[in-house]
Symmetry: C2
Subunit: 268 residues, 2 copies
């Protein structure tokens, strides 16, 4: 594999959501440099056709590879569902999605009754139940679309009565099914994982996509000898396809620190 | 004016929101036929550039006129802000927007302290404070973006703790300003006007866009001799630029009765 070990890990999403995955990767692999692309001109991907999402994903991922990325993380559930195979075929670097590592974790933990929370598009796709049926056949799976969490989080409502009411509305049917683990299958949801966990109680294990994906990426790149060892680390870099000042402020909230846009940050 | 009195009244919006205006018009003018266009391929308009919204609006309005519309109602705050003048210039039929009649009503009622609730795009445009400053200069104006109401309404959450918490979160700062009237400056909000009114209390008059606009359209078309008198009424008709089954079900909720899509309903 020709990828330079010192190249960045490339990630992309339709907007800021994938920054929770970037945060987890930065925490898990502090020696690595990240190159993040938010396809803000086309957000939200959840409303687009599979063909369109596949086209955007291919050109973004190729651009990140052209900029030196040694691996690509599809930090978005919608794009992971429809574009992963095409990217694996098209690219010469390792490609990761945010679904398979979570499915593998449910199988590894031998979860008996697992709940899935996701956007309407993710739940409607049926991708989690289908993959779990194949890889964790003993797990009973129940899935709920929980679409109000995204606008509430994007309004920066991270505690208080509105968030409590929204979480409670989704928690009631979930708890009624006696799930023993809950997959937060949207990259936005980790922002309020603590509040969800508090409402679900100690008997429900929360499976948070960013940490599981970061662990899997770290293990795979380590196995392939693709982790940096010595050279001093440059700052993480961020790019978008449509710039708004709001992106930078909400990106900071999702990434947990101020972000530095590349000089040539506008592309696509 | 060459418009045929028996032609329909044309309305358009980026989606279902304008159907609350269609409902009010159908109630106020039961003898009239409506021809409604939802530009669902381009929704939401709130995120688009003024140039793009103007272009969509011009071609939709022209198409409605070509289909026989005797008047055009821009049933959308975003399009009313940026496309009204262009449509007045381009079309030979009367054109109405959803802003001017509401501003005139605030002036007519001599409201002393008026609050505005709208989407981020509407509030950021500053169109209501600017027009009120010119036409109701004695009214003190305060405006709040209340963006969570749209996703909550579109999730069909029309009562209960989530809606109560969202309304309460916006009502507190509004009540703290001692407003005597509140403009619901988004075509979605009338769906929960009763719940908003209950929280605001009897001392705050709710100014609901659809009823005010319908009254103004009825008076203007009456003055111009453009209201139907005798011929039996054909059913209202509906068109969209991107069809999804969800449109028909949510449209029924907004319009208050089942809608009939035209045979050639897909256009644009």
């Amino acid at each position: 594999m020709p990828a330079a070990v010192d190249g960045p890990i490339g990630l992309f999403d339709s907007g800021v959501g994938g920054l929770t995955v970037a945060r987890a990767l930065a925490d898990r692999l502090p020696g690595e440099r990240l190159l993040y692309f938010g396809d803000t001109a086309h957000l939200p991907y959840g409303d687009k056709s599979p063909e369109a999402i596949r086209g955007y994903s291919l050109s973004i991922a190729q651009h990140l590879v052209d900029l030196g990325a040694k691996a690509i993380v599809i930090a978005c559930n919608s794009a992971s569902s429809v574009a992963y195979d095409a990217l694996v075929d098209a690219l010469s670097v390792p490609v990761f999605n945010v679904i398979d590592p979570v499915v593998a974790e449910v199988a590894r933990l031998k979860v008996k009754r697992v709940g899935i929370w996701g956007t309407k598009a993710t739940i409607k796709s049926g991708v989690f139940p289908a993959k779990l049926a194949a890889q964790a056949p003993d797990a009973a799976v129940r899935a709920w679309a929980t679409p109000l969490l995204v606008p509430v989080i994007e309004e920066n409502i991270l505690h208080g009565p509105i968030l409590d009411a929204v979480i409670d509305g989704y928690a009631r049917p979930t708890l009624a099914e006696d799930v023993t683990a809950l997959v937060l299958a949207c990259t936005h949801y980790p922002i309020v994982a603590a509040q969800i966990g508090q409402r679900m109680g100690a008997n429900v294990a929360l499976l948070s996509t960013p940490q599981i994906v970061a662990e899997h990426v770290a293990a795979t790149l380590g196995d392939r000898g693709l982790l940096r060892t010595a050279a001093p680390k440059a700052p993480h870099e961020f790019m978008v396809s449509d710039y708004t000042p709001a992106f930078e402020s909400i990106a900071q909230q999702f990434f947990g620190e101020a972000i530095a846009l590349r000089e040539d940050h506008l592309w696509g």
